[in-house]
């Protein structure tokens, strides 16, 4: 079974802090994704990566950056957290059949 793990289920940070969200997969998938999910807005793509050290902006990249130094790990970075980044963050990988496997999510609260 594909396993996608995220570093924290719940996280509370203060405005202005630098925040790291980590995602690790164990299936050697090339494509990895970061989404945020907000009520009434569904899932929105922040960034994705199609290979090590390769990244591409999604629909809402402002205020975020990513890092992919190893194939199995994809990190989302909030350079200076703001209250409007309070959200559920979901990591996913893409299989060869085009489906996506999701991690359990990190619920981030920025105070």
């Amino acid at each position: 079974d594909v396993k996608v793990t995220q570093s924290s289920r719940y996280l509370v940070k203060r405005t202005g802090e630098k925040v790291f969200l980590e995602c690790v997969q164990d299936m050697d998938h090339e494509n990895m994704f970061w989404y945020r999910q907000d009520p009434g807005l569904g899932l929105r793509l922040i960034y994705f990566s199609y290979d090590v050290k390769m990244k591409e902006k999604g629909d809402i990249p402002e205020g975020y950056s990513v890092s992919r130094e190893k194939k199995e790990r994809f990190s989302l970075i909030l350079e200076s957290a703001s209250t409007n980044q309070t959200s559920m963050y979901l990591c996913a990988t893409r299989t060869v059949s085009d489906t996506q496997y999701f991690g359990p999510g990190t619920r981030l609260t920025v105070l």
Binding site: F48, D98, Q100, G103, P104
Partner: protein, 112 residues
């Protein structure tokens, strides 16, 4: 604006009844997928239908795709309390097919 829009936004039915959710989209697609999300958890893939397919089944799930109307439906037959969840459609576009564009979801509640 969202590529996929689900209808209805919320649906409440009795256990044993069938549940139907609809999804409309705007641009041409490579495939359309349905996902399920239990409260506060990650999404789980249910079924994928490709643009050249019209209908697909998986257990109690039946998905149809009408590319001329740019719409899809998900039917869950003989619903169970455990089917209570949010259901999302996601479209894989012709260009940039690695990405999926998700709708806002339908919240399904099955009453025992």
């Amino acid at each position: 604006s969202q590529q996929g829009e689900e209808d209805p936004q919320a649906l409440s039915i009795q256990e044993g009844e069938n549940a139907t959710m609809n999804c409309s989209y705007k641009t041409s697609i490579n495939n359309l997928q349905w996902y399920r999300q239990n409260s506060g958890r990650g999404l789980v893939h249910l079924i994928l239908i490709r643009s050249n397919e019209r209908e697909k089944h998986s257990g109690r799930l039946r998905v149809t795709l009408d590319t001329s109307k740019k719409s899809s439906s998900l039917l869950i037959t003989a619903s169970r309390a455990a089917d209570t969840a949010s259901y999302f459609c996601a479209t894989g576009l012709l260009q940039g097919a690695q990405k999926l564009v998700f709708g806002q979801g339908t919240r399904l509640t099955i009453n025992p």
